[in-house]
């Protein structure tokens, strides 16, 4: 069984919420990857979203943009990232989801990308500039058993949410802001209703992400869904050596049992 599917099922069985942190591959050097993954695994994260640096990340806010630029300055390529993951895969257990833009995968070559992901034990892919209308060209990723995670947003109509969730794999990534990634102070009041609506329609777990940056955000969001994804805040914490705050965020997700 796919490692990510298994991890999400375990959450469900144990009546736990999922927590998926995002880190940028190659930020601080690829040699740091193993220790970051092990730290997150040990702290209780359900899976890790591993960002692939791209020169033109239109869905990302300043924090992730800067992390990407730092990574690119280190010379990180997608080839290097997959090679590194292959190298450490016997030491790391936590499921890994790649988050990368369409062009990175196309430039790699779809066939090679799929093969290398399988070898590296990658569980899934999130492609933020790939709406369902364009998914067909990446179908070989799905065929190989790598989960293609779909996103829904606050602007997706009921009709679209139905269509997107109908063919969903792994989990649904419910984007919680009208906007790009980045930390936020407050969320719009429509959030709870929106998450519940997505959850009602989705056959797979629904995880909320974009802007979630405090333990309170985490506690709020998990009332209406199956877990959270935290990006910019995790990057900031690793960047400034505040790993303890990462643990606090993860703990916040454990505080509530499924209703």
């Amino acid at each position: 069984m796919n490692k990510l599917t298994k991890a999400l099922e375990d959450c469900q069985t144990n009546q736990e919420k999922a927590f998926i942190p995002y880190i940028m591959a190659g930020d601080g050097g690829l040699d740091r990857l193993k220790s970051q993954l092990l730290f997150l695994e040990k702290s209780g994260a359900t899976a890790v979203e591993l960002g692939i640096p791209f020169s033109d990340p239109v869905a990302d806010g300043p924090v992730i943009q800067q992390a990407g630029i730092r990574s690119l300055k280190n010379g990180t390529t997608l080839k290097d990232v997959l090679k590194k993951v292959m190298e450490i895969k016997n030491d790391v257990n936590i499921p890994i989801i790649l988050m990368g833009y369409s062009n990175s995968i196309m430039a790699y070559g779809l066939k090679e990308f799929t093969e290398d992901c399988l070898q590296a034990g990658i569980s899934g892919c999130i492609i933020p500039d790939l709406p369902i209308e364009e998914e067909a060209i990446f179908s070989s990723i799905k065929t190989a058993g790598i989960l293609l995670i779909r996103l829904v947003t606050l602007t997706s109509s009921q009709e679209r949410i139905t269509e997107i969730t109908a063919g969903a794999e792994g989990f649904i990534y419910a984007v919680t802001v009208k906007g790009i990634t980045g930390t936020r102070d407050v969320f719009g009041g429509e959030l709870g209703g929106y998450l519940k609506k997505v959850k009602d329609l989705s056959p797979v777990p629904v995880l909320a992400g974009f802007g979630i940056s405090t333990p309170d955000h985490v506690r709020d969001a998990i009332q209406s869904c199956d877990g959270v994804i935290v990006g910019s805040k995790i990057i900031e914490c690793f960047e400034t050596g505040k790993e303890n705050q990462i643990s606090e965020l993860i703990q916040a997700s454990k505080g509530l049992v499924r209703k």
Binding site: V58, Q65, L72, M106, V175
Partner: protein
């Protein structure tokens, strides 16, 4: 050739185009597609558009027989489509007026746009002043430094200019930032894309609004010469003036079409903007198209003496027309373009934009190879006033007592 029907319903030109955008934008571009389709059948909208094209922009523009240039070339008769005579000095406004009217039709009050040299920014700010729309222009900090006068022009017209320092601080980064702003403000904001780029339906909308160039040219040429031209030449940045010029001729197989990219310092250097010649297919700014990129898929900086051609991609329809060989794509260096600018100024008393000078340069070469009695149209996409300072710094003015 069978009837040309690109793109398909999903916005693909063969393999190219599509909608590679964050899910948040899907609702907005679907709405845009619907409103645009309605507007095509809406006589009131079409009447409004024609009114502004004629009374505000000054269309139609002349198709001018360049007699001196023709003599100099000694081959084909050369005609210039005078897009430089439009209000604001380039073809860009053909598109911005159309999209601003669409913005009104959608009930949106705010417009954003990207700009490199400032031409599209000025054309957007202009129509926003006219139609009372709030206007925000995203411009790379590097370009703001290089194009101070156009920044002031936009501000004079009431637009807010936002300096983009992200990435390399140039046009592609301005597009990224405009897209990010759009994702966050999509409810009340329309993004006026400046060329035949971006997710479907933008490449179609921009092509259609610009195809007034080719439609007029075809009619004017036929009236004057009683046949179709043998060849048509246009410069290519993102590809909007070329697409507007070519589109009405695509099914006329006898008309050869030539798109001219910027070769910058030369195609064997890294300093050029020849995406179709030196790039490979990839996704940038929402569409699958030819893009300048490295092996890892990182987008590379383009270079051209003309800021309007300085973009590392070329729209999806051109990518398709390249692969199907309907259009021949070629390139002209900075030096050749500069030389053509001076030449046209001296020969015809017309100072062309540096962008258009690329088309002039190639057109002159081509006319020499074509026999007498043949006809060639060059799209003179804009006037050169904006470039006078650049040109002066490169070739120097003579000293005066």
């Amino acid at each position: 050739m069978s009837t040309y029907t690109q793109p398909d319903k999903t916005g693909h030109f063969g393999a190219y185009g599509g909608r590679f955008v964050p899910e948040t934008l899907m609702a907005a571009i679907t709405e845009l597609e619907e409103v645009y389709d309605q507007s095509k059948k809406d006589p009131e909208f079409q009447e409004q558009l024609s009114y502004y094209l004629k009374q505000y922009i000054g269309r139609e523009t002349p198709l001018y027989f360049a007699e001196n240039l023709t003599k100099l070339a000694g081959g084909a008769d050369i005609y210039l489509k005078r897009e430089d005579l439009n209000h604001t000095g380039a073809h860009k406004i053909n598109n911005t007026i159309g999209q601003a009217l669409l913005t009104q039709k959608m009930g949106k009050k705010k417009v954003i746009a990207e700009t490199g040299a400032g031409q599209h920014g000025v054309a957007t700010a202009t129509v926003c002043a006219l139609l009372k729309l709030e206007c925000i222009i995203f411009m790379g900090e590097e370009d703001i430094r290089r194009q101070k006068l156009n920044v002031f022009r936009m501000e004079l017209l009431g637009a807010k200019v936002i300096s983009v320092s992200q990435g390399s601080g140039t046009l592609k980064d301005a597009v990224n930032e405009a897209l990010r702003y759009w994702v966050a403000n999509v409810d009340d904001t329309h993004y006026i894309m400046g060329s035949v780029l971006g997710p479907h339906p933008f490449p179609v909308i921009v092509r259609d609004f610009q195809s007034v160039i080719g439609k007029e040219t075809k009619r004017q040429y036929t009236e004057a010469v009683h046949s179709l031209p043998d060849a048509v030449v246009a410069c290519i940045g993102g590809g909007s003036n070329a697409m507007g010029m070519f589109y009405p001729f695509i099914e006329d197989e006898t008309v050869k079409l030539y798109g001219v990219e910027a070769a910058g310092h030369g195609l064997d250097t890294h300093l050029h903007a020849s995406s179709l010649t030196k790039g490979k297919p990839g996704v940038l700014h929402g569409a699958f198209m030819y893009v300048l990129q490295n092996e890892d898929g990182q987008i590379q900086e383009a270079h051209s003496i003309s800021a309007g051609l300085d973009y590392p991609g070329v729209g999806p329809e051109h990518s398709y027309l390249k692969d199907t060989n309907r259009v021949e794509y070629t390139s002209v260096t900075d030096d050749e373009a500069l030389e053509a600018l001076v030449m046209l100024s001296r020969e015809e008393g017309i100072i062309p934009a540096l962008e258009s000078s690329h088309a002039i340069s190639y057109g002159l070469k081509l006319a020499k190879e074509m026999g007498k009695g043949t006809g060639l149209v060059i799209c003179l996409s804009g006037r050169g006033d904006k470039d006078v300072e650049t040109v002066q710094s490169l070739i120097g003015g003579s000293e005066h007592e």
